[in-house]
Amino acid sequence: MTGVAITGLGLVGAYGLGTEGLAAALASGAARGAEIDRSAGYHLPDSARSAILAGNLQLAPWVHPGEARRMSPPSKFAVAAARIALAQAGLTPGGGEPGEGEATAVVLATAFGPASFTDQLMRQIVREGPQAASPFYFSECVANAPAAQIAIAAGARGANVTVVEREAGVLLAVAKGAAEIASGRARRALVGAAEEIPPLVHALLDRFRALSRGAAGEEAGRPFDRRRDGFLAGEGAAVLVLEREEDALARGARPLARIAGWVRAFDPSAPATDWGTGAAGLALALDRGLARFGLDAGGFDRVVSGASGALAGDRLESAVLRAAWRDRPLPPVLAPKGVTGEYGGGFLSAAVLAAAGMPFGPTAGFSEPDPELGVIPHDGRPLAPPRRLLVTGLAAGGAAVWLALEAAGAAP
């Protein structure tokens, strides 16, 4: 079966355009939270106030203002991230050999879609009447608008798929894109996630007590920490260029990493709005799923954990890891969501950077181990470059996806 290489990574978000800012934040273990605008009146008085926001990014080098005015925020993020990724991969959007567009798939994840446009549309319908609804807001508020805009921008005429499985969606998108290539249906895929966190989404997440309200002082995502009280929502987009490894090597591209496998499962014990308790079932599914790719938990020398500081989420994550590793010691566990926040692709970017051997500093937000969890995330000491990494994604509501990455230099 075809090998799948990651040859480009485009990131747009709170840490700027490209991965330099995120890499610096991960190395120092410093998050960049910002205050959310609560003036719309959607928030409860005692709500969370912080998020990892993209802010006033200058996207013009990657998305012409004339294009941008026809796009929702996540579409702009996605198109910019895709173009950055393609440039890093040494590819020209819409260029290349005949048939390249047809052989290029797009698989993008979102949890909430272009929610600021949904909000605007609802305001028009409720306050001014249904006939005030803007066709522009409607056409760009659909969940697949960012994936469609990437296809238009990149001339990608292969399968175009948007996946929606909350916190697990971004890894699901990567898995589906890799499967498109491994099956031979596509030679290349642009995969990742795009998200915006407008006040409406922030307020609704807060009403479910998903967000940190600063129980331990500052509002922060505190993965695996005893004082964790929720996550920080993050916005932006991350897009990876996936291609057949033989194609990448033939054209002289330098892969960042390789995709070695993926596992999908579901925890039916999860309520619709929180994580469940089905660690044993998930660990069994992980074990069986890895075996389909000839992999085993013991063969990973790094975990890039999706732990975010969610109370039940981190509890489930740690229980699954401990069950999957059984009596074996866990390898170093990186938990970047204290920096990247939840959603928006920052986490995926951090995982690829980890696979590429980028050094990680101490885990942002972590200082007090939780004895109930039994997982201590990375403390910042120097680590040998990883050979094989397990990236974990457990979603509230039950979905679960794991991704196996290999360092580009490691023997397959």
Partner: protein
């Protein structure tokens, strides 16, 4: 190197189907309604549409008391309830229990709106400063709500994914299920979708002037837009070997799936239909069939001027001179456009046509557009012992999906 271990090539059987549509709760009312040539598109009561430009939709009738138990749950959306009803019906039809905890099973759903109706009520409450808003309205408001609700209720522990690529979602979801079964990732797949009527999509399509004031008239001269529908559908898919081993009778086979993207425009299809044609060709290749082996088509056929024209051109590109003689039916003329789940319910309509040996008619709506001379099945069901059929889905944003089904016993 990706070393996913695949089993031998498997024929994937449809062994059970369930549906909720404007014709009612169940497959029986769906097939009876489709066969009758009537449209379930009429006035509706989900929300006050007096301020909207149009006033018809294919709304699901009230839940029969007999089905209340299997769709109960305080925090479920309307779309969740549709999905649960369809899932239980499909499992019963397949001779399977309503608890899949012991199975290596997955759920593959397509949806555009999920629990958006309930989300809208909450947001409208925020905008009008309504006191004591119920957070439970938001519990299943996400697009992945119905698929997840089905997996949760049935105890599914395998892959669960919801795809939301507008009108292609359901077709793509069936394709994802086919992949998973062929790869041996699951032994059993529940594929389908669920969408409920809500004001954003109704108002939004109206803002685009894409909704007809009358029931939609696919492929007709003077057609002027689509009709919104709602409902859910679930197909039980499994390998032919497994089905036969446990004594289940396949209703049909899902023989192939294909997908493509126009990469052209957010709301308008590529006018020459090249993207749609690419998806159809991919599905045919996946099924190992030539265009000449397709006996009828269940078309996406929304009834909008541009979509139907582009789809016709795709048919001409793939089927050549045969396009004008190929029987075509347009399920949306009867039950409206179910958005993300349309591809899945039209897949079920295709299976039912193969099973019953007749192609269901499209409701009356005037003369076929002479510019798009499809052989539209009209009036009454057309007897046809078809061996293979095609179902197409062409979405907002340019995503296209095509599915090929073959008759069981052919």
């Amino acid at each position: 190197m990706v070393r996913e271990r695949c089993g031998p090539a498997r024929r994937v059987a449809v062994t059970g189907v369930g549906a909720v549509s404007g014709f009612g709760w169940g497959i029986e009312p769906l097939w009876a309604g489709l066969s009758s040539g009537r449209a379930a598109i009429a006035g509706f009561g989900r929300f006050d549409h007096a301020g909207h430009r149009t006033h018809v939709a294919a709304e699901v009738p009230a839940l029969p008391a007999a089905l209340a138990r299997r769709t109960s749950g305080r925090r479920l959306s309307i779309a969740d309830r549709f999905a649960l009803s369809a899932a239980f019906e499909a499992l019963a039809a397949a001779g399977l229990p309503g608890d899949l905890a012991g199975e290596v099973a997955g759920v593959y759903f397509g949806s555009s709106t999920g629990g958006m109706w309930e989300g809208e009520r909450f947001i409208a409450g925020l905008l009008t400063a309504t006191p004591r808003l119920r957070t439970s309205l938001l519990a299943s408001q996400q697009v992945n709500g119905p698929g997840d609700a089905v997996a949760r209720r049935l105890g599914v522990s395998g892959p669960v994914e919801t795809l939301s690529s507008a009108c292609a979602s359901g077709g793509l979801a069936l394709g994802a299920a086919l992949d998973a079964l062929r790869a041996g990732e699951v032994d059993l797949a529940l594929a389908g979708g669920a969408d409920s009527l809500c004001e954003i999509t109704y108002g939004g399509f109206n803002a685009l002037r894409s909704v007809s004031e009358e029931p939609c008239r696919p492929f007709r001269a003077g057609r002027d837009g689509l009709s919104i529908g709602e409902g859910a559908v679930v197909l039980v898919l499994e390998s032919e070997e497994r089905a036969l081993e446990r004594g289940a009778r396949p209703l049909a086979f899902l023989a192939g799936a294909g997908a493509s993207c126009d990469a052209h425009h957010m709301t308008a299809p590529e006018p020459a239909g090249r993207g749609a044609a690419a998806a159809i060709r991919a599905a045919l290749a996946d099924a190992g069939l030539a265009p000449g082996e397709i006996d009828f088509v269940n078309a996406h056929a929304t009834g909008t001027p541009l979509n139907d024209a582009a789809e016709w051109r795709a048919f001409v590109e793939v089927f050549g001179a045969r396009a004008a003689g190929l029987p075509v039916t347009a399920t949306k003329g009867s039950i409206g456009h179910l958005l993300g789940s349309s591809g899945a319910i039209e897949a079920v309509a295709t299976v039912l046509c193969l099973r019953h040996g007749e192609v269901h008619p499209t409701p009356a709506g005037g003369e076929v557009d002479p510019e798009l001379p499809v052989d539209l099945v009209l009036g009454s069901p057309r007897p046809l012992t078809a061996r293979a059929a095609l179902s197409t889905s062409l979405a907002f944003g340019g995503s296209n999906a095509a599915l090929v089904f073959t008759r069981a016993g052919a």
